[in-house]
Amino acid sequence: MASATPVDDEATLVAQLKAGDEAAFEQVVRAYGGRLLAVARRIVGTEEDARDVVQDAFLNAFRSLDRFEGNAKLSTWLHRIVVNAALMKLRTRKRKPEQSIETLLPAFLDDGHHEERFKSWDEPVDKMMERAENREIVRKQIDNLPESYRTVLVLRDIEGLDTEETANVLGLSVNATKIRLHRARQALRTLLAPHFRSAVS
């Protein structure tokens, strides 16, 4: 498996693509494929569908190269095409029943107080996320969310879709989408807590 070669001159690469240079196509697929596959995997959830999505997206991108404007970033443009292809995949998919997430939500006492005392996470988020191991933990825990929740969280909080778009793609009401996002964030917080709570409390 060859590693991704970084692209340092996008403008030249784009010119080569537009000229139909076969080596340039290969360079683009190798350089951007890995991260695009990760984006697709996070949205559609399975390796097989993610690969379909990435393949469709690259073919679609290569067909529309003349519409690529020089002032955009190639990576951003490809990212958008992959997200759209992934959303298309989700739209055509049969709805799965909602999985249970109760055990990952906060529990309350009869008087309405939290059962748990939350130990603080002592590092500011930017500092915490400077470390690769922490970024890896967060990605892994996102993957551990029940699928119907992970998808909403990824579309809203990571891909930046608005509530209406997300609701539309997933065939949910706006209100159900909001509730699901809120639960997904709470569940992710629960999954992250053992990793991020400070050792000294």
């Binding site: 890995g34 996070r42 906060p106 939290h114 996320m129 922490n134 990824v154």
Partner: protein
């Protein structure tokens, strides 16, 4: 407002959609309840952490499998 209700409204609070009156109750509770305050902070950190962790960093996302590279290139030539 109880901790339970505060947790229910977190979503609306962080997106600025909580009506003024509820917001006042919410913030009053927060000012008195350290535990809810810690929870709110962690809820916000969770949102940001997800965004940062999934930001495009090709090196961390694993490579493109060779067979998929070949499949994409072969499919391009067919179309």
């Amino acid at each position: 407002m109880k901790c339970r209700e505060l947790a229910e409204f977190l979503n609306d609070y962080v997106s600025g959609e909580l009506p003024a009156e509820s917001r006042a109750h919410f913030e009053f509770h927060l000012s008195k309840c350290k535990n809810c305050h810690a929870y709110l902070v962690q809820y916000e950190v969770t949102i940001k952490a997800g965004k940062i962790a999934c930001d495009e960093m090709s090196d961390e996302m694993g490579p493109m499998p060779d067979e998929l590279v070949k499949a994409v290139l072969a499919a391009r030539l067919k179309t």
